[in-house]
């Protein structure tokens, strides 16, 4: 825990209020979850803090997860809140090595949403569920006053089944393991941001929003020696790798020049002052796996439509435990920290 020291003059932001930054996937988000939300509810399954909870019941192993979607705008290049709500939850299940089976679907609708918008979202939910091979088997709808929500919020929960011999968790990374990213990073965050801010690029940047469960099944068919899977959503690749380093108590070393980034995203990041390592993805995964199977799994991933740009970007080391270090293009090293605070534009 970060020390809370009253320096007298510094007001510091540790007041009794929640800031937007508490929801950004940053260190503050982690603190909110680990220090405030989890302790009163603690139990052995919850405390693992993986993307899904995995539990055993009557001889079977199941994964269960839930996620709420509040993206603004609700339609963005390459996707919309509906596709996101299905893919996000399917991916959280897949990151535990589970095959997703069923989803729930809850709408919180702000008065004033048009039926046309709702139908577009529903259609996209239907198509994403079909693609992922999951059924939506229960749901709920609430309508709230104008201003009490922003157009449409969606919650989905999902349940899946974990095959025997599969043991995937953020705490399973081992020294010597290789790290794979399934494709170019930052597309989703920049697509949403550019839509929101009205930025136009000559090559439009599309969200990568996609269900990854089939690719995960293909990877697991190659080998069950996949130790961690994580989808680098809010907080981006940097935060996902830091989570793994912390949970597993290992160091992670990555190489800048191996990380795939589309030119449009790089250009937008230059313009906005963002580091693509921190920009959100909705159709990418990070895999940490035994070195002897890395090439084989990589080859398999590249055959999948969502993994054709997959690359090995680094490895797990016993140095700098709990931290991520990146070799820069010029050959120096630098720390890659978790996202801190909100992603903000630079000013000069």
């Amino acid at each position: 825990m970060l020390p809370i020291i009253n320096t007298g003059c510094n007001m510091s932001d540790r007041s009794n209020t929640i800031f937007l930054a508490h929801g950004s996937g940053s260190k503050l988000s982690h603190e909110l979850i680990e220090k405030r939300l989890v302790p009163p509810l603690i139990n052995p399954i919850l405390s693992r803090l993986d993307d899904s909870a995995v539990f055993e019941y009557r001889g079977g192993r199941f994964a269960f997860t839930t996620d709420s979607y509040v993206v603004s705008p609700i339609f963005f290049p390459g996707g919309d809140i509906g596709r996101l709500a299905v893919c996000g939850t399917v991916n959280d299940l897949a990151m535990s090595g589970a095959s997703p089976l069923y989803l729930s679907l809850s709408f919180i609708i702000e008065e004033g949403l048009t039926f046309e918008e709702l139908e577009l979202v529903l259609d996209s939910i239907k198509r994403a569920a079909e693609e992922a091979g999951v059924s939506i088997i229960t749901g709920d709808t609430k309508v709230v006053n104008r201003g009490s929500a922003d157009k449409l919020f969606i919650n989905t929960s999902g349940i899946g089944v974990v095959a025997e011999g599969v043991d995937i968790s953020g705490s399973n990374a081992r020294v010597g393991d290789k790290i794979i990213i399934s494709g170019a990073i930052g597309d989703h965050g920049i697509a949403v941001m550019s839509q929101r801010e009205g930025l136009k690029f000559s090559v439009p940047i599309q969200s990568d929003c996609a269900p990854l469960n089939k690719m995960v099944a293909e990877m697991l068919a190659v080998s069950s020696q996949i130790h961690c899977l994580r989808d680098p959503t809010r907080g981006g690749l940097a935060t996902a790798l830091n989570e793994i380093a912390r949970q597993s108590g290992v160091g992670i070393r990555i190489e800048e020049e191996r990380i795939p980034i589309h030119d449009g995203v790089r250009a937008a990041c230059e313009l906005l002052g963002f580091d693509p390592l921190y920009v959100a993805n909705e159709g990418k995964l990070v895999a940490v796996l035994a070195p002897e199977i890395a090439e084989k799994v990589l080859e398999k991933m590249r055959q999948n439509r969502y993994g054709h740009e997959a690359a090995i970007i680094g490895e797990v080391t016993d140095e700098h435990k709990g931290r991520v270090v990146m070799k820069t293009r010029l050959g120096a090293s630098r720390i890659v920290d978790m996202l801190t605070g909100e992603l903000l534009p630079r000013i000069c």
Binding site: T7, R329, A332, G341, L344, R346
Partner: protein, 360 residues
């Protein structure tokens, strides 16, 4: 990516590093003026690649960092006035003032909105004619023309609910102040790239002439910075300090006269209060008389509680190049990006944030 990759080319970079190692004989202290330079240096690990004879010190070129506590306090007080919407660049949100921050004020109900440009602030004023919209105008010569343009636009359109808290500062006068203080014996300055795109290279000429200190105007890519170091070391080793431009694709020696005219139309020179340095005459900008209707200071008289400085915070000394973040006992322990004590840990271009984020 064209126009970026060329300036990150690894082979050329290694060549420049080898050149620096070959040229550099006597130990030199170079100040990278801009926060953007500091970030590029840390992000690319450039310090590790330079020979031990070349020492890089971070300077006061981060507009958020040099904003004095009193001005943060005033911004927060303005946000608390009824009917007022404060608009600001995002980096200002978390900077702790004496008692609070804009982020905290927003969470407590003040209407504070992050904008990407002054034009966004004007748009908010247009769309909310019932509210008084104040833009927190921080920045250097780079930002000043955009604020001037926004004010001229507001005047032309007859927008009567737009105001600016003018905290604009100028770079050459603070460089002079640092050299006069003489706390650090500088051999060379990596001069700001984007500021120079506006003011050109002439305003730095007093530095080699009067202080014998080498000057090279640099861009923000790794090769820009390495090239600037090569040029500085060459000037120093040959005993010929002068002003050179390494950032030719961005800076003309005459600068941008159109932008300077804009600044000159709306603003005039004034004293400015720099964190860690204090008041420097002629180092800031204030509204000219005919634009006083936009001046938030004049239009919203407020009183603030006595200003308090955070105990133990070295931001001031770090901004003067006297200390580095690693010298600060609060760094990483008490002062982190989540719980910043001083502004250098808040701004994405602050030296402390860059050391925290990228330092090994």
């Amino acid at each position: 990516m064209r126009f970026i990759d060329e300036y990150r080319n690894v082979e050329l970079g290694r060549g420049l590093i080898a050149k620096i190692a070959k040229l550099s004989i006597r130990p030199v202290k170079l100040m990278e003026f801009c926060g953007g330079h500091t970030v590029a240096i840390m992000r690319n690990g450039i310090r590790q690649l330079l020979p031990p004879s070349v020492q890089l010190l971070s300077g006061p070129g981060c507009p958020v960092c040099v904003t004095a506590n009193v001005d943060i306090d005033v911004s927060i007080s303005l946000a608390g006035l009824p009917g007022v919407t404060v608009t600001t660049f995002g980096d200002m949100m978390k900077v702790p003032g004496s008692y609070s921050s804009l982020q905290k004020a927003r969470a407590e109900g003040a209407d504070i909105r992050i904008v990407y440009s002054t034009q966004d602030a004007i748009q908010i004023a247009r769309e909310n004619s019932g509210r008084k919209v104040i833009f927190i105008g921080i920045g250097f010569e780079t930002t000043a023309p955009t604020i001037a343009a926004a004010v001229l636009r507001a005047k032309a359109e007859g927008i009567r609910n737009f105001y600016v808290l003018c905290l604009l500062k100028l770079c050459p006068p603070v460089m002079k102040a640092l050299l006069d203080l003489g706390e650090v014996k500088l051999d060379g300055i990596i001069c700001p790239g984007h500021v120079s795109a506006i003011i050109g290279s002439k305003p730095y000429e007093f530095i080699p002439k009067e202080y014998g200190v080498a000057c090279v105007i640099s861009g923000f890519e790794p090769l820009d910075i390495l090239l600037s170091v090569v040029m500085l070391v060459k000037q120093i080793e040959t005993g010929q300090p002068r002003v050179e431009v390494a950032y030719r694709r961005g800076v003309r020696s005459e600068g941008n006269p159109v932008a300077r005219r804009l600044i000159d139309t709306v603003f005039e020179l004034s004293e400015a209060n720099w964190r860690g340095i204090g008041n420097i005459a002629g180092s800031g900008l204030k509204f000219r008389k005919e634009f006083e209707e936009f001046d938030a200071r004049l239009q919203f008289p407020i009183s603030i509680e006595p200003v308090r400085e955070a105990k133990g915070c070295l931001c001031g000394a770090i901004l003067r190049g006297v200390k580095t973040p690693l010298d600060c006992s609060l760094f990483r322990r008490v002062c982190t990006p989540e719980t910043p004590v001083g502004p250098c840990m808040v701004s994405s271009e602050g030296a402390c944030a860059a050391y925290y984020q990228y330092g090994v």
